[in-house]
């Protein structure tokens, strides 16, 4: 089965995010004053083969642990969906 795995890598809450602060300041300047907090992260999408969704999730988790995120400063979240056969 083909899967699309979408990984969101974000800075841990305890890590200061100067990019997020700058984006928030920009939004406030544009009048979006309702915004109280902004965090900037990364979105990584992977197309992959796996036998089961569980198997795919296990592999992507491994990828996150080994490369996609830095455990010192980053958290990650995985979303999986089955891709229609082409």
């Amino acid at each position: 089965m083909r899967f699309l795995a979408e990984v969101v890598v974000s800075l841990k809450p305890v890590v200061n995010d100067p990019q997020g602060l700058t984006v928030r300041a920009g939004l406030h300047q544009l009048g979006f004053t309702e915004v109280s907090d902004v965090r900037v992260g990364k979105h990584i999408s992977l197309e992959m083969e796996a036998d089961t969704e569980e198997g795919a999730r296990r592999r992507v988790t491994e990828m996150c642990e080994k490369l996609l995120r830095n455990p010192v400063i980053e958290d990650y979240a995985i979303q999986l969906r089955v891709l229609e056969p082409r």
Binding site: L11, V14, V15, N16, P18, Q19, T22, L67, L68, N70, V72, I73
Partner: protein, 304 residues
């Protein structure tokens, strides 16, 4: 002695490092990222730059280069490794040093002179310095904000593993003058066994008066002193290379080398290897300094 200077795609400070070694009067070889042979280097430098385009995270991809396997092995056996700028980022990604380097608090790429207070002279990299003295050494980075959890930071302080902190020119705490917002103003740290140093500032760019300062040479001289005094932990050195060199009197036997024990921890190889420029097949570079600590004078040039 011989320095090995790693070259990844995107490394940009390799030649600056080779020049600093030349000023020191010693030799260096470039170590290509796809190779595994450290070519008998007594100290490995991971220089600054943007290895693999800084893709994903700084240093994240370089960590998987074949050369890094050898560097890991070399470091585990006690070999001296210094990571400068991108090299520091690689060492953190490779878990040879704790913590991580993140975007500067200013979000700017900062290229300027910084003042570093030497926090400990008890490392092979700072032994020619005095604790508390201030060195002027430039930085050149966009992602140098050192981050670690509080336990790690406490441990670094307790074990006196912070080698350098950013300070004001008079040595007082950097405060708002921090160039990148590093936690506890950390500019450089060593590992538990003190044979691996990572630092964001570039000592090789403060290696000659014409560059604006020579404070960076204090580190290179420290490394030289460490290697020459104690011998080096050079696990990859070949018996032939050592055997061709004269043994200094009083340095003890040099039979404790060779054999398959490359992974043996902290196996001291007493080094008296003299790599001169001619033996390395290189033309002589510029003249070395007139007088060197230890009274030796050699010339060395890295391949161009």
């Amino acid at each position: 002695m011989k320095f090995g200077i790693a070259v990844f795609p995107g490394t940009w400070s390799d030649r600056d490092c080779a020049r600093a070694v030349e000023v020191l009067g010693h030799s260096s070889v470039y170590l290509w990222h796809r190779d595994r042979d450290l070519q008998g280097a007594d100290c490995v430098i991971l220089p600054g730059g943007f290895s693999y385009g800084d893709h994903l995270r700084t240093g994240a991809v370089a960590r998987f280069a074949p050369l890094m396997d050898s560097v890991q092995e070399f470091a585990a056996a006690g070999g001296l490794v210094i990571g400068i700028c991108n090299g520091f980022q690689i060492l953190c990604e490779a878990h040879l040093l704790p913590g991580a380097l993140t975007r500067n608090a200013s979000l700017e790429f900062r290229c300027e002179t910084t003042w570093l207070r030497v926090e400990t002279a008890e490392t092979p990299f700072t032994r020619e310095c005095r604790a508390g003295e201030v060195l002027a050494i430039p930085i050149s980075h966009g992602e140098g904000r050192y981050v670690a959890d509080p336990e790690t930071l406490d441990r670094l302080d307790a074990e006196r593993r912070v080698a350098f902190r950013y300070v004001r020119p008079d040595g007082s705490p950097a405060g708002d003058a921090s160039p990148n917002g590093s936690m506890r103003d950390i500019a450089g740290i060593v590992n538990e066994t003190r044979n691996v140093l990572g630092m964001m500032p570039h000592p090789e760019r403060a290696a000659e008066a014409v560059l604006g300062g020579e404070d960076g040479m204090r580190l290179f001289r420290s490394i030289l002193g460490s290697v020459e005094e104690a011998g080096t932990f050079a696990p990859t050195v070949t018996p032939a290379a050592v055997g061709s060199a004269p043994a200094a009197p009083g340095r003890g036997p040099i039979s404790d080398r060779g054999g398959p024990g490359r992974r043996a921890p902290a196996r001291r190889v007493m080094k008296e290897t003299v790599h001169n420029a001619a033996a390395d097949g290189q033309g002589g570079g510029g003249p070395g300094p007139a007088g060197e600590p230890g009274g030796r004078r050699r010339r060395g040039a890295a391949p161009r």
